[in-house]
């Protein structure tokens, strides 16, 4: 970094080919490396300089932006695994290739990690030397004043009634009062001048910003190692305790085990959804509210809480979010002997999130009966097809297709609870059968009966713990603060020189100014004000002027 900003050096800097992060870029020179180090050290140093050069950082930033694009265009495993499955089904030839390139999980792909790790290495290679440099420049005084201040970007000149030495003393006092760092001529120096510099916080802010970004990355890693995410579907009246077997899905961080889960338990008492009943956006939800009873640990007193979309439940440092809901019709199935083989609320998955027409299956294994069903909260018939007119359960109905035979539940092959494998089963006559709450469908041939008892609602909850959250927020705010400092503060130098006036006892004072960085502008005004203050301070008094004129 150049320390003295004479116009000559400015011109030299303009001709400089590359402005690198911290070091100047040169070709590797094996002979240049000191005794005892082989040619490879020269190449290593060259490689490091390349990596920490601004140009490389720029290319890596570009790659980071470019690499993110497929993550938004293609379905991502982390955000929507079902969409990835669907993509596989519709593009059977292309999908495996995309998968090989990690394009279904871009933000966890090795090549994406390579880009940002290289970028942060480059950043560290730039920031660390610059931190030392800043610490050094905070201890060294500003450079000596250039000879010809008129050649600086900003300059002004005025007569002073004071002698050159006194004029510079007064100027130095004024600049020192404005918290400039000063440098006066050493004992051997000739001339009367003062150098002043201010705005070291700009570079400090710049460094803070980059270090804080590093902190954000570390915080994210912290969350990935020690945090966890889990999902749980709960029907009204059901409860669970936060243990791995009780959860539907559990995504632990690399260093998390099941015993690290917060020991709370929670019961869903009631779920209420309300919808707009009139106007253009009729059917749009206006509120979701899940009332739960929870206790933070076994034996702790139980409390109730209303979980809403923007209002998660916090238990210790774990949070429980409401992320989905649907209907769970209650069915009772009896076998051919009249024994109850199935009696529970069955979650149906919304096929249409606007009207909540939902699909689901009932598996009464002991009765050798299975049903595929469609549930509608507000039934209407559209040309003979069952449809839902409104998402609230104003007039619920189900349409069932019955199957009898072996459900294949004991074959050892895992099955989805939302799908029925009808191979080896026979369709029950009379399907599909439409039912309203309270109605019973007695299956032909004495195979048994199914009763649509009523309707409950289910919610899906996300349980998350992320220890990196608060550090990430703190680092984000620090980054923003650093950014503002580096944009708002300007590093500037002001020089004052005084020479004896051609006639009379006063002197001629020249002020020169230079802003090294002026992102938000305004140094012009600041310099003008400063020059005016300096001039006003040393305004020749009227009697002096008349004397000089005489």
């Amino acid at each position: 970094m150049t320390d003295v900003h004479t116009p000559r050096e400015q011109a030299a800097a303009q001709g400089e080919e590359t402005v690198s992060f911290g070091t100047t870029e040169t070709e590797p020179d094996a002979t240049d490396s000191g005794a005892g180090t082989g040619p490879s050290a020269g190449w290593l140093r060259w490689g490091w300089r390349q990596l920490t050069s601004m140009r490389t950082a720029l290319v890596l930033l570009f790659l980071l932006a470019l690499g993110s694009v497929p993550g938004s265009v293609l379905p991502q495993q982390g955000a929507d695994p079902a969409a990835v499955q669907q993509y596989y089904a519709s593009h059977p030839a292309l999908a495996p290739w995309l998968n090989h390139l990690g394009l279904f999980n871009v933000f966890a792909a090795p090549w994406f990690a390579a880009v940002y790790l290289l970028l942060f290495t480059s950043l560290v290679g730039c920031v660390v030397p610059r931190t030392f440099k800043l610490a050094g420049s905070a201890r060294t005084p500003p450079p000596r004043a250039p000879r010809n201040l008129g050649r600086l970007p900003h300059s002004a000149s005025f007569p002073s009634s004071l002698a050159p030495g006194a004029a510079v003393d007064a100027a130095a006092a004024l600049l020192g009062g404005q918290r400039f760092r000063l440098r006066r001529p050493a004992s051997g120096d000739s001339g009367h001048w003062v150098s002043a510099e201010k705005g070291y916080l700009r570079e400090a802010g710049n460094l803070l910003f980059h270090l804080a970004l590093l902190g954000v990355l570390v915080s994210i890693a912290l969350g990935g190692l020690f945090g966890y995410k889990a999902d749980k579907l709960l029907v009204e009246g059901q409860g669970f305790s936060d243990t791995v077997p009780a959860l539907d899905e559990f995504h632990p961080g690399r260093l998390v085990s099941g015993s690290d889960l917060a020991p709370f338990s929670l019961t869903l008492d009631r779920f209420a959804a309300s919808y707009l009943t009139s106007g253009e956006s009729r059917g749009q939800p206006s509120d979701f509210n899940a009332t739960v009873t929870y206790s933070s640990s076994p034996g702790a007193p139980s409390r109730t809480y209303n979980i809403r979309i923007n209002d998660p439940l916090s238990v210790d440092s774990t949070k429980v979010y409401l992320i989905g809901h649907g209907y769970a019709p209650v069915f009772k199935v009896t076998d051919s002997h009249g024994n109850v083989a199935y009696n529970e609320a069955t979650p149906f998955i919304p096929a249409n999130t606007g009207t909540f027409l939902s699909d689901g299956v009932v598996k009464a294994t002991d009765a050798s009966l299975g049903f595929m069903g469609v549930f509608v909260p507000t039934a209407v018939s559209v040309g003979g097809t069952l449809e839902s007119a409104f998402p609230a359960d104003d007039f619920p109905a189900v349409s069932l297709i019955g199957y009898s035979g072996n459900l294949g539940m004991n074959s050892g092959v895992p099955q989805s609870v939302y799908q029925l494998n009808t191979a080896g089963m026979t369709k029950v006559a009379g399907s599909p059968h439409l039912m309203l709450p309270g109605q019973t469908w007695t299956l032909p041939g004495g195979r048994g009966a199914i009763t649509f008892v009523g309707v409950k609602q289910w919610v899906s909850l996300a349980i998350t713990y992320d220890p990196g959250q608060v550090p990430a927020l703190v680092c984000g705010m620090l980054a923003l603060g650093g950014l503002l400092l580096s944009f708002l503060v300007r590093r500037r130098r002001v020089f004052v020189r005084a020479v004896p006036a051609a006639s009379g006892g006063g002197s001629v004072v020249t002020v020169g100014g230079l802003a090294r960085t002026d992102a938000s502008g305004g140094f012009e005004e600041e310099f003008a004000e400063l020059a005016a203050e300096l001039a006003a301070q040393q305004k020749p008094e009227p009697n002096n002027q008349s004397e000089a004129g005489a």
Partner: protein, 379 residues
């Protein structure tokens, strides 16, 4: 609380009125372009006569003029002299060894016309066309603000809950911010471009993506709407102005390069009105420097809200991904200005790429790509 339909109607009427008044302002700015006297050329001519030291003298004159609060002949020459300096010198290089996101040394070299004359007087001196256009712009902004505020009162929330409301608000920000920049830097010639773009954006909002006033879905019922979306609206409005300035820079710079190569005649009447390439470069940079921290804040606020609503502060949702891409591209621009070989045209291309990704996020990703941010309410 239900929607106040009467008030929503009032808001719509005010917006239509604002579009009409803005259109008149654009006509005013265009009239200045066509019939106004060529200010810059005249001032530059005066400066040429005073020789090589004109720029330096002008700076001293400016300093002293500001110090004494005086105005008049000597001072009014200053902007012209600065213009000459711009033409003679390239964009200043960072004299230090550069720096992450810096590169703005020697602020005097491409100095923008400073505030030597009070704003109102400067508007008056700029000629009848500019006077009328600025007056219409101010009136249009007033109507526009009333439209946005009444919409907010009609729906009892921050009036940027869907795409139509978002565009309405961001153009309001762009118009206000641009008028500040225009008056601050006396850049009257930019009016026809920026205000023209505002009129087009508003016209499209009114015709293509109009959405009736209504309450919000539960996911948006949070005070973070007013924090996150407000920051994004402000930043988008500011980047909008930066993008128009960037395009103008490229046009002026191309013309300058053609003149230098002998392929075009100097003294193009239209381009002579526009600030010089160096001034536009600096103005664009300052605009981005203003918008970038606001965008950063908006992204952080969005992360906090996402954590509250969805259980994670960052999930690479398509809209989040594109906000990140936009942020990285603007960061690229800031770094490119401090990198040799990337200043000037290339940096501006990056800046425009950043705005393209922002626009793509707003108009394509939010509307057509399903994600957690699908609130546009279009179609």
């Amino acid at each position: 609380m239900s929607v106040n339909l009467g008030l929503a109607q009032v808001s719509g009427d005010f917006l239509v009125a604002a579009i009409v008044i803005y259109s008149l302002a654009v006509i005013g700015f265009a009239g200045d372009f066509a019939f106004g006297r060529p200010r810059r050329a005249k001032a530059a001519g005066a400066a040429v006569a005073s020789g090589e030291h004109a720029a330096q003298l002008a700076t001293v004159g400016a300093a002293q003029g500001a110090a004494q609060g005086a105005s008049g002949g000597g001072v009014s020459e200053a902007p012209g002299a600065s213009d000459l300096a711009d033409g003679a010198q390239a964009v200043p290089a960072d004299a230090g060894s550069g720096g992450t996101g810096s590169g703005d040394a020697g602020s005097g070299d491409a100095a923008l016309p400073a505030r030597q004359v009070p704003a109102l007087r400067a508007i008056w001196e700029a000629g009848p066309w500019v006077r009328v256009a600025v007056a219409f712009s101010a009136l249009g902004i007033l109507l526009h603000v009333v439209a946005v505020v009444t919409r907010g009162f009609a729906v009892h929330r921050a009036p940027w809950g869907n795409m139509y409301e978002f565009v309405t608000a961001l153009t309001c920000v762009a118009a206000i911010f641009f008028c500040y920049v225009m008056v601050r830097y006396r850049a009257w010639a930019l009016g026809v471009f920026v205000m023209g773009a505002v009129v087009i954006a508003l016209g499209l909002a009114e015709t293509v993506i109009y959405t009736a006033a209504g309450p919000l879905v539960p996911a948006l019922q949070s005070y973070w709407l007013s924090i996150h979306v407000t920051a994004m609206t402000l930043a988008t409005g500011i980047f909008f102005v930066a993008a128009v300035l960037g395009v103008m820079y490229l046009v002026v710079e191309r013309y300058r390069a053609r003149v230098a190569a002998g392929k075009a005649q100097p003294g193009n009447g239209l381009l002579a009105r526009i600030p010089s390439a160096a001034q536009l470069d600096k103005l664009t940079y300052r605009t981005v420097v203003f918008g970038f921290p606001i965008w950063t804040f908006g992204v952080i606020a969005g992360a906090i809200w996402a954590d509250q609503a969805w259980g994670r502060y960052w999930g690479w949702d398509p809209v989040e991904t594109w906000a990140f891409i936009t942020w990285v591209l603007y960061a690229c621009y800031l770094h490119a200005r401090a990198t040799a070989g990337w200043r000037g045209r290339r940096a501006h291309y990056i800046q425009l790429l950043g705005f393209a990704s922002l626009t793509f996020n707003m108009l394509v990703v939010q509307v057509f790509i399903t994600g957690m941010h699908s609130y546009a309410g279009v179609g």
